[in-house]
Amino acid sequence: MSLIRIEHVDKSYASRHGTISIMQDVSFTVKDSDFLAIVGPSGCGKSTLLRLIQGLDRPSAGRIYFQDRPVDRVCKKMAMVFQSFALYPWLTVSQNVAFGLEALGWPEERIGPQVERYVSVTGLDGFQEAFPRELSGGMRQRVGLARALAVEPAVLLMDEPFSALDPLTAENLREEVLQLWRDPQLPPDAVLLVSHNIEEAIELADRVIVLSRRPGHILAEVEVTLPRPRDRKSAAFYELTDRVYSLITAGGQSLATAPAPEGAGRSGEAL
């Protein structure tokens, strides 16, 4: 079943120097219980794509469907996790987690238990009354995650969620996100992860969509069939990583974020 359908989406902005095209003709689908990663060089419109999908922004052309209905306003069945956490410094951990539920108009007596549940799911027990500034980066992102999960979204949108964390913390949090996604008792059904970290994408996702540099278009959709838990040091993992690197470098001549690949890349055909 297709949960989200993206059809021929273009996005461009008007600027002082004329129109800047962010992405061109992007089409793909997200299935139920998909873990999809979108990778690409910086500036290719990955984050913009995520915002278009939730309806925070409108595509310049093309359509986006959620459960076969066009997305024409902010879709509350999806929840976003931000790179910068986007926690409200004046709200406690509990209040931050309750944020989305209040927006949905939940009655107070139901909000309490729901917040408690997701606070403990994300390992924040004992920090309910803390303020975000008192927490470490990893703990803050847990709050961001709990806030998103608490509304029990069908789709979890993650915009570079681990980029602002130190490598060790990021690794732990990645595993926990994977566990949450695989737990049938817990939301979400599908996860959409935007990342510039190719290893991260391959470690987590079932499918990796590779975008070119601006204006972003899809270079390839890479199926990741490696068994979980995935070993970053295995030859298969390395080969896959190398392939995606090559795709991006070949498709986008110069690349700011990714290190240079070892061998010459293949051209960006669909795989």
Partner: protein, 609 residues
Amino acid sequence: MAKDEGTRPVVPAHLPNCSRGSALAGRPGPPAGCRKLLRWPSARWAAGIYVAVPLIFGGSLAATTGLSLGGLAGYLPQASLDTAYSFLRMLAAYALSLGFSLAYGYYAATHRSGERVMIPILDILQSVPILGFFPFALLFFADATPGSWIGPNFASVFLIFTSMAWNMVFGVYESLKTLPADLKEAADTFGLGGSLRFRRVLFPATVNRLVYNSVLSWTAGWFFLVEAEIFSTGRSPLPGIGSYLSLAASQHHGEEFLAGLVVLVTLIAFLDFAVWRPLGHWAERFRYDQAPAGEGGELTPTRDTSGRFRRAASYVTRGVRTGVTRIRTPLVQLAAIGGRSGRRPSERRRSLTYYATLGAILVVGWLLLIAIVVGVFDALTGPISGPVRHLIFEVPTAMGVSVVRVVVAYLLCLAIALPLAIQFARSRRASRLGLPVIEVVASFPATALFPVIVFELIPYLSAEGAAVLMLMTGMMWYLFFNVLSGIRSLPPDLEEAARSYGLTGRRFLRRVLLPGIFPALVTGSITAFGGGWNTLIVAEYLSVGGGGTGQSLSVLGIGQLIDIATELGQPGNPLMAVALLTLVATVIAINELIWKPLYRRAVTQYRYD
């Protein structure tokens, strides 16, 4: 903001202890190196003298008038009652300001079309001496409710409102504009709208600045409250601490006067300790502009609530920055045409002839304006009476004299504020002991002492000296707190570098310190001049006590002419119109042509971040 977090500077362990301490713990006070460098021997002496002189003077004044505690206590009930009246007026004006600033700031921050008009209007309103319009307000409200106590009260509340509102509006507007995009977006993703969005996101975002700006607003409010009450004593006295004080002073009742002061100081100190301190502490959690976890930086001594004034000063500074950088009023655009020569505006350095020509054009335009106003009044209400016409011809001279007076007062303030601020920045002990005192003194309305200046000090100072002294009380604190926060926010590594190159003493002052605090100095000057223009109207002409017993101070100046016009009533209207127009035009011209270009240069050239 979050990106900063990843690259937060980590201070290597091998650096000397002093700089690590201040960078990591974020404690207030200068690092050790800074203190060593600021060894400027005369600063300590100057600071000592400035503190000692008023104390000695006040003491001897009290001794000569022969006061007794018993007599003082007898006046306390009346003083308390009058202070209560004044306090109610303040509360009313504050409530108005709060509502207005939230509504205006919110609308301007969220509506593009509104913003384009509303913010320039605000910028002009905050730079124009509102006190000049008090007579109008008084007439307007008094006419609306003839013979009633309501009119004058409304007028005074309105006046206090004008002294409180603008900086709060800027606070609301800026905190909404600088709210990180991701916090707004997070609210969008959950579809948070309407009142919930306001309650959970937008209002909390404004709380921190609202609290800190409120401290300033109350200080300004007291200043103007006393002025407003003194102002109106000429006609129908408003019961309040201001008229109480001026009446007591005019009758040379030292005990009565002191009783009023005691009550007023007590109330202000009480508000400070019981309201603003806890509120400031609570407001800390609403900050979103700080470095996350283990925040450093000298400007944000978070646990140190006594930094309120400095914080407030830095917020006002940001308000000025918005006014300068975001707003291009027609006059600035006009001025920019002359200097357009292909280079970037920041690199442009205008010649003296350019300023001279511009000044000449302005003067001509302004004389033309006066002529037009006179013509209009001649045509509409019949010929202006002889004496009034004569006074109108005095307006240009009066304006010039007033400008000189404000500049002199400004220079004197600078001579006091600079060494004092350096002393406070240099010595942790001085700042620990002295700053709380200075903050209480700064929040006390100097206007309450104006009657004393008029009645007791004129023999020593001459009328001119008394006028300048009063002006200084209205300008001093803006300068002092801005300079202090400028010195404190000087990056420690700049001081360290200067030290490693052996730059000390006067050379350090000239090469490092003064350029380093230049932006703060300019914003301090802008706000100080704003205060000066407002004080001008009472400082040049103060008639206290009323009736036959009154004594008055009157020196030639634009403020004097405005006051005379007020007293003349109906026939004085043309004079009032000309004088107000002149004052407003001059203030705006000085802001746009001198301060704003200077400020732009300060932020482009002397910035260290």
